[in-house]
Amino acid sequence: MGIRRRTFLGASAAALAAPGIARAASVLKFIPQADITILDPVWTTAYVTRNHGFLVFDTLYGTDATFNASPQMVEGHVVDNGGRQWTMKLRDGLKWHDGAKVLARDCVASIRRWGARDAFGATVLQFADEIAAVDDRTIRFRLKQPFPLLPTALGKAASNSCPMMPERLAMTDPFKQVTEMVGSGPFRWNARERVVGSLAVYEKFHGYVPRPGGVASGTAGPKIVHYDRVEWHVIPDAATKTAAMQSGETDWWENPPADNALVLKADRGLVTRVLDPTGLMGCMRLNQLVAPFDNPAVRRVVLDAVRQEDYMVAVAGTDPSMWHVPTGIFAPGTPMASDVGLKRFTEAKDFAKLKTALEKAGYKGEKIVLLLPTDLPELKAEAEVSADMFRRMGFEVDAQASDWGTVVQRRASMKPVAAGGWSVFSTFWTGLDQLSPAGHVFLRGQGKAGGQPGWPSSPAIEALRNQWLAAKDVTTQKELAVKLQQQAFIDVPYIPLGQFFQNTSYKKSVTGVLDGIPVFWNVRPA
């Protein structure tokens, strides 16, 4: 059977064109830490929502792996009037996902919305006399006093980050969730394919203009997207997630627990490593409104009783590479961290002596209610170690087990323990949340006015924090950070319990995964 010349040419042309036409969309299948139930990164501090926010929304500044802020949506800034005026110019060509141009007034409204919810954002608003859109691309801050931390605040990678939204969304009540996901970030939210509790889909935003030059690092630098589509597959069970990674059904698991990470590390097709070197910081909060922790001397005895290694072994296992002790009030290895006063956290404890010290401090045998969340393994482990420690110290402990949802409601109660109040709970924050006094929520001393459960009161800490915010150079900041740590060990607004790390696991065929929070630019198929 012969072949006609025209048929042959046509078939050849089709074959040549085929790779371009039929190229399958590249898909990255990711298992997030939890389902993305809340989409608005200003409305909640949930880390999963923060991660989602960085896909959809861009920020004026980014934070690199060394915790320095650098321009992201802005070309740069000019500082005038002795540090009291900042003028920022937006990069050319920035677009929202609906095709409209990103304007300075959108950004001003976004900053105001963020400032109404975030502690660092509130500080920005407190320092600002005026935040104005001078023209379509220029934002001007007129400040009451110099505030060198402005780019750091606007570019913070911790929750709540400062996402830029169109003005019509940013002008809405910050206490009501924005569910229309129109950002200017490197990915578009695919609302149509979303299945709550199962699947979230992001598509490459072809109108995104990555920052020219530089190197991608943290949330800073050029955000170049190599996957057409990122799918977040929500899998509730850790064993199933492990099996999904082993079978190759998924490409990347954000945070395998220690036990599962051991299995994944043995898999040659996977890379399993620590993604965020700032880790997670365990914290114990004592309720200063009710006895016995209204007594600073009692709090200081508890501070001396904490052996951080006990907590970290319970939380993260016996592999010391997965945790770090001793830790102070700032994430170890970051600029503000210091070793002042940390020896107490590694010393062996003599509970007979601690019991005596407790009596001398004025403990009168009051019952303490310890909130013990059962549904979050790390927090449960922290609480169980605390319960044991308190009992050995001679406290009368009532460890009340419930789910985390009940704990967060209960801890807001200012009532005495007999009337449904509480005495102590533990939690953890990312190291990013504890880089500096600016966004460090537990390092406040505003008492009842601060509204933070535990209600620690310390005018000295507040004064030092204000000095730190106004400091002109890093050397002064570091000196003040040391003083803050010393003061924190006197007033004890909270007790640091150690730093632990979480693994991440991804296929060897996935490259370019950046350190820090999970981001999806720079990641590419091998």
């Binding site: 929750s159 709550v196 509790g197 079978s247 949802g405």
Partner: protein, 313 residues
């Protein structure tokens, strides 16, 4: 009969009303605050109160209940506090997965368990009977999640025949859909198969000792015909009853199975909503489940008349 069915359907209305009141009251007195969960660790007490007010959670019980009931009567189950999506849409999105899982489990369980029970009764006291009953005890005793893990390890990881997790919609083809549900259905069906097999055996043993079976044997009727035509039909009423009751167990088991195999079904929706205190979703799901359960019981009652003509309503 038609009057009976209409009467039963009418009777579901006060039942559903009571369920609604019970669930709403239970959630009202249960500890937990969605506003505090939404606000997160950084939030101040004032911010939490602001969110609570914006969600209308600070309104009195009767106002909230009345508002919710009014909307339910208009076919609106409300909006999720967290996702801001209509509850009905969330249930609609999840229902095909759970219905598929339950249907396959039900069909598979009946197909396996009834012949097993009949065989065990026929061969009562022999090694076949004992093996079947040991299997039934195993099905009862081993927790659903253990069966799930074992099946996933064997038939998804070691032998990559089925996916480890996830659900493929029927719109993507029959085989991919079925493939995604075989392991979950086997997992969920374990206890159900055991239950039906045991009841079938017990009922069949009783029926097989009846005079009419002896008469049939004396007349020379074949064993298969005796078992499946005469005896099984008369044993059907208790079996159908247990299938109906077991439906509740199936709903409970679906919660675990959907979690183990990451199936986006109503069971997981319920658990997630409870953990987050997403009240409208919990209320909506419980209402829907209650309605289905009432409906299943109605179907069971009607089936009685099919298997036993002596029963009349």
């Amino acid at each position: 009969m038609l009057t009976y069915i209409l009467r039963r359907i009418a009777a579901t209305i006060p039942v559903m009303g009571l369920v609604a009141l019970f669930v709403f009251s239970l959630l009202y007195i249960a500890p937990g605050d969605p506003a505090a969960i939404i606000a997160g660790d950084q939030a101040t007490v004032q911010q939490i109160a602001h969110i609570r007010a914006s969600l209308g959670l600070d309104r009195p019980f009767l106002v909230r209940f009345g508002d919710w009931l009014w909307h339910v009567l208009h076919g609106d189950l409300g909006t999720s506090i967290f996702t801001n999506l209509p509850v009905l849409r969330m249930i609609e999105q999840r229902a095909p997965t759970t219905l598929s899982l339950m249907t396959i489990t039900l069909v598979m369980s009946i197909a396996i368990a009834v012949p097993m029970g009949v065989l065990a009764a026929w061969k009562a006291g022999t090694w076949i009977d004992r093996v079947i009953m040991v299997m039934a005890v195993f099905g009862f005793s081993v927790p659903v999640f253990v069966i799930g893990y074992l099946l996933a390890y064997a038939f998804a990881l070691r032998l990559p025949w089925f996916p480890v997790q996830g659900y493929v919609s029927l719109s993507h083809g029959f085989w991919p859909w079925l493939r995604s549900l075989i392991l979950p259905s086997l997992t969920l069906g374990g206890i159900y198969i055991a239950l039906i097999a045991r009841i079938t055996r017990a009922t069949m043993l009783e029926v097989l000792s009846q005079d009419y079976v002896r008469t049939a044997r004396a007349k020379g009727v074949g064993q298969r015909e005796i078992l499946y035509v005469h005896a099984l039909k008369n044993a059907a009423v208790p079996i159908v009853t247990i299938i109906g009751i077991g439906f509740a167990a199936l709903i409970g088991g679906a919660v675990v199975t959907e979690s183990v195999f990451a199936l986006p079904g109503i069971g997981r929706l319920t658990v997630d909503a409870i953990l987050q205190r997403d009240y409208p979703v919990i209320q909506g799901v419980v209402l829907v489940f209650s309605f289905i359960y009432v409906l299943v019981n109605l179907v069971v009652d009607i089936l009685y008349t099919v298997f036993d003509p002596r029963i009349r309503y």
